[in-house]
Structure formats: C-alpha cells, structure tokens
Symmetry: C2
Subunit: 423 residues, 2 copies
Amino acid sequence: MAGDSALPHIVIVGGGFGGLWAARGLAKAPVRITLIDRCNYHLFQPLLYQVATAGLAAVDIAAPLRHILSAQANVGVLMAEVAQVDRAASAVQLADGTRLQYDTLLLASGSTHAYFGHDDWAAHAPGLKTLDDAEVILRRVFGAFEQAELHADAALARDAWLTFVVIGAGPTGVELAGTLIEIARHTLKREFRRIDTSKARVMLVEAGPRVLATFPEILSAKARVQLERLGVEVLTSSPVTAVDADGIAIGDRRIAARTVLWAAGVAASKLGATLGAPLDHAGRVQVNADLSVPGAPNIFVAGDLAALVLDGEPVPGVAPAAKQMGAYVARVISGRIAGSTPPPFRYRDDGALATIGRWAAVVDLGRVRLSGAFAWCFWLTVHIFFLIGFRNRLRVMIDWSWGYWKYYRGARIILGNDGDDTN
Amino acid sequence: MAGDSALPHIVIVGGGFGGLWAARGLAKAPVRITLIDRCNYHLFQPLLYQVATAGLAAVDIAAPLRHILSAQANVGVLMAEVAQVDRAASAVQLADGTRLQYDTLLLASGSTHAYFGHDDWAAHAPGLKTLDDAEVILRRVFGAFEQAELHADAALARDAWLTFVVIGAGPTGVELAGTLIEIARHTLKREFRRIDTSKARVMLVEAGPRVLATFPEILSAKARVQLERLGVEVLTSSPVTAVDADGIAIGDRRIAARTVLWAAGVAASKLGATLGAPLDHAGRVQVNADLSVPGAPNIFVAGDLAALVLDGEPVPGVAPAAKQMGAYVARVISGRIAGSTPPPFRYRDDGALATIGRWAAVVDLGRVRLSGAFAWCFWLTVHIFFLIGFRNRLRVMIDWSWGYWKYYRGARIILGNDGDDTN
C-alpha cells in the first residue's frame, strides 16, 4: 500500500474474537495492520458443539476473515502459521521461515486442548476447539451408530459402540451430552433396523463435585436435573484415570465405550511460551493491567492466552472476555498514538449461558438467573444475534427450525471416506 | 425384522442415483433390501463443482441415506465398503471380512477418476467425484490465492500460484473453469492487499478439437465464446503429456501452474472387475438388455458402472441415465416375483445442461437448444428441482441468491488446518 511505510505496523496473531475485535477497533487509527491466522475463517466457537453433532454445518458458524475485513483498508490478512515470536528482533517467524517485522504485536492465538499430562489420551478422546475437531467428533459419533448396526449380532461390541462418554461437565461437556442423548433417542430412532438407538448410553463424567462448576450452585443443580431427565447418566466426583480405544477407567471402575469425547481441559497456545514472559500453570501469559507483557510494552496478549486477575477473580476464557480484551488493546494502541492512556482493563461480566437440550438451558446474568424453557429461548436468541453475517444468521435459523420441528440433523454428512481408491 | 427370512434378499451396492432409485422402486415389493454405501449420504453429483468452488456447502447437496429411506420399511442401510463379489457363494464381502448373502444383487457403485495410465498425476491434479474431492479442490484453489499473497514479492512464484489449469473440457471442466475465473475476477477482488486476483490465469485444456464434445457443435462453439468472454484461456487439440507439482506440459510447451484440476477421465468402480463378467475398455460391465450380467441373471448393474449400447449409442454416464437404470432394475425384480417381464431397457435422453458462468450456459434438449441467459435460468431451476429434500432446496436458493447479488462465496471455509499441535 503506497505511503504506508511510515505508519506503525501492528501485527495481530489470531483471527478469533480477540484478534478480530482488535483489528476492527483500529479501523480508524493511523496504522497498518497485518492479521495472521492459520485458518482462513473466523469461528463462532460457542456453537462448535452444534457442528460436532450435526445440528449446524461448518459454514454456518464460520465466516471468511478476508471477507469480514475486506472493507477495512488499513488491514491485510495472511493465512499462515506463526511458529514463534522473536522479541529481540521485533519480528514474528512463520512456519515456513518467513519473518514479519512489527512495531506492535498482539498475540491472540487462543487455547488448545490439555490432557493433564496424558497426551496419549488425545487419540482416543478428541476435544472440541476447531472445526476440524468438530468434523472428527461428528465422524466418530455417527460412525459409532453405523458400527453398532453392522455388529448388531455381537452384543458386547454393539453395546460398546452404543456407549458414549463425555469427560468434563463444563458448558461444552453439558451441551455435548445433552445433544448426544437427543440424537440417540429422537433423531436416529427410526433410521436403524437392527439396533434400537434409544438404548444408547450417554455418560457425563466430571472430576469435581458438580456440573457447570463456574455457575452458581442452584443453576448447577437445575442443569443436573435437566440432564438426568433427558436420560444422561451424570457422574460427579469421578476423576478419569485411564482412556484407551475401548473405553475409560474411573479408579477401579471400567466403562466400555468406543466413543469418548474430551471437554475437560484447555491449555494456552504454545506461542505464549516463545515470548519469554511469565506464564501461569496453564501456559497463559500473565499480563499487566493494560494487557501488555511485563517488560515489553509493545507486545499485548488478549483472549484465552491472557492470564489476568481482577478483584481476586481471573478473567475467564470465554468469548465476551476475548472480545472486550481485543477492543481494549485497540484503544490502548490508538491512545498511544494520540498521546492518551485509557484506564486499566475492566472485564464486564455479561453472564453465562449453557444449553442442555430442547427447552432446557441455564442462564446466569448475575442478579437474574433463568433455567428451563425461557432460558433456552434466551440462549437461542443471543447466539443467533452474535453470529457474524446476516446470511449465517438466516442459515442457522433455518437449520434450527428444521431441527426443532423434526429433530432433523441434516449436517451429519460424514466426510473422510475416500481412503485409497479400492472401490 | 420378524418374518422376513422368507423374503428374497436384495443387496444394492451404492447409494447414488442408481442404487437409491432402485431401492425406492422396490418400496412395495415383497422383498428385503440392504443398501450398502461407504458414505452415509446420497450425493447430488451435478452440483459437486459448486462445493469445490465454495458456492455451496457440502451439506447442501448431500442428504443422509438413512433419513431418505427411513420411512421405507423393507430397506435397511449399512455404511460399509464392499471389497468384492463372490458369485459362487452369492455373497458380497465387506472390507472388514464380513459376508452378506444375497438372492439378487445390484451393483451401482459408480465411477472414479482415470488418469490414462498416469496414476502419478493424481497427487498433483485432483479430480471431482466425491465430497472429499471437493474439499481437496477447495483447499487448493483458495489456498493458492493465500500463497500468492504470502509470496507477492517473488513474481515467478506468485504467478505460478495465480495460474489455474483445468484438464478436460466436458461439463465438469467447463463449469470449474467458468467458476474459477469468476472467483478471481469478482469474489476475491477486494480481499487481497498485495496481489491483484483479477490477474489470475485460468486455462481450460482439452485434448480433443472442441469443448463439450458430447454436445452439438453449435453449442460447443457458443460455450467456447462464453468462456473466452469471461477470460478463460481455452486450449483445444492440446493433449497434456506431463503433470507435476509445478505445472503441466503439452508436448514441448510448459505451463507453470501450482493448481491443476482433473476433469478429463473417469473409470468404472473396481468392483466390476470382481464379477468375472465382460468389461469394456473403461472397466464398465457389459450388461444384457435387461441390465443383468451375462450368465448371472440374479446380478444387475446400473449407473456409471454399466456399459450398454442402444441403437449404436452408448448410454452416457450421467445422473438421469443412472436413475432410469436403477428404476428399471426395480421393475425387473418386481416383475420376476409377479411372474412378468418388462421390455428391454430404453434410455430416455432428456437433454444435457452445462453452465459456464452467470447468465451463461448451454442446454441441449434435442430439438430445442438454448444458450446464454435463458439457458442459465433453466439450468438453475432444473438443478434446484432435482435436489433431494425441501430443506436442501431452500439452502441452495439462499446460497445462490447471496452468491448472485454479491458474488459472495461463503462456503470457502478451508478445513484440514490442524496438522499437529504446534500452536
């Protein structure tokens, strides 16, 4: 871009909520921005579990980054993987060795799965952070019913294929479990001839004493009741001690399950470690009050990668927090150019939502707490509202309408079947 | 299913147009049907090129087989790969070794890519027969623009990334080429900062003397004009002699192109060879007038796998032919049970359609030939009409409306980025 070399170059790593809100926040600033992401799309993560369970298609909850930012003249997008940050040289290094100089850097590369030191569990218990994860889970879940049908005569094998375990009872785990039981008891009920899908077992296993541990106790209790009413077996105070291809173990108790899903832990993106800055136990970067890195005032961190404690409470790794942090960093950067300094970052907790099944959800808005049908309608509305793009909202409303009236899950198209050309 | 063991067991291999229309045709027959497919969905192949170029999402043109057939009580679906047919034992053998006995067998496993003895070209020039193929092509096409942006300063590399070659000018090749040029000149025009996507070259390379060789000459000529007006470089009488990672060769002429797509040849599914029946040069099974296999009256072949010459013309490997053959086989099977014999198979040629770009298509209806805008509207209408499922039709209409008014291609979400966990 002509005449830009004099402008400060802001490099943003990550096109999720943190990075994208930062880029947009700088739309009018006299800067040149490069946003780097290894994917070409922005993902609405709160609805990932819907893609994993075929309630929505991948394209419904993702929008091409270039398209979102195409009208903003001062930002360019690069689809690349950032391997590390070279603070001394003020550059980021891409996976292919290319280096990109920056004047200011924002790291917003998010989080990934954590298996508490049991990385070998990853192959057997996929997590849900990306669209590729969702595709893997969809293939395993719907593939399991197919395998049960093929092996209908071998009772033990069939039952293992019809047993689903979700590890971790945070919002993602609760949403997955509630949806799996609906798939088994409603969506697929009339479609198999040799198995009765409603006999499938869905177990939600949590190491702690309650589900939705970050919600108020009364909502945790209501969520548990709603899950059990749907048919989910909820096991709390049950830390998983082993995961393999045939199932899991909780201490001495063994559960045969061919489909195990991981919703129990996340760890920060490994890029944080390349900063040489203080990290917390989960690998998150401990940032200053203005979200900059201690000792590196021109490097910021936002979103799941940032560790910040305010009034004794850690800022949670949720979408609204990432948005607010990204927007805040944009204000700090703009402010510096204009010679002003915004006050320290404040996290505005707008509440938390989790859906359990149709007509069942819990909503915590601080003073207002909702559960049941009203909470579910609220949840639907909020999620549609926050999707990017009118077209995505329209598609999601259509998919959900079909899904509601007919329990139909049209997005259960299993890909990855080609293998080699033997047919 | 109780009381069914006395009913004849019809095994249908393949849930495409041939197999599905045969299964539906037997809805009222006193038979027990098992339909086997290695995918869990029925695919509307004529619109595959739209998924490959992000005009539609995979879920828009595919419908779960179980759902389509769930209300038909006498059919069950198995998701499995058939490895071979054992005629002597009247059984099909699945990839996992399981055997399934049949009284009557219908092989409708379709076709796959053929590289005329150059199987090493497959890695560099993907074809388009399955949804997985479409995902590979989408990743390569949109990934090429991303690579060009990353390497914008290296002119030769950038130009190679911005050169797209489609080999084979049948309907699929023509549709791909016309769409690629629209992506380059319209869809992505404002989204890149360092490259000018409208400078991309799209070349359609055909060994024979004209494009759309199976259409009347006058429509071939019009199609060529429409393509060239859009900006596609059409090379006829240009047989490709080499394909590698850097491009192609046509005799002495070398073209540097990092994205090469194959639309030049198909071969029959390899299952045909396991029948021990006469095959033609493309591996298709040469069937009797009633679509049965010579010497095996209880084995039928329908769709792309069948070779049948009527009045000197081979029945083409197109969707309507497969549907008609599948429906015909159902009538023969029902007829035999009822003690009657339908007349030999007749192919009703309803015409052929190919779209080139917006407001540009050619339609051959025998006596009526259309081209240009009117043909394009006709093409749109027919394709929407023949999709399975109202919901799919609605989604496609929405996607196409958005695409038409804004050149928007929202389905260009590139998957497969996770790789290993380095970030």
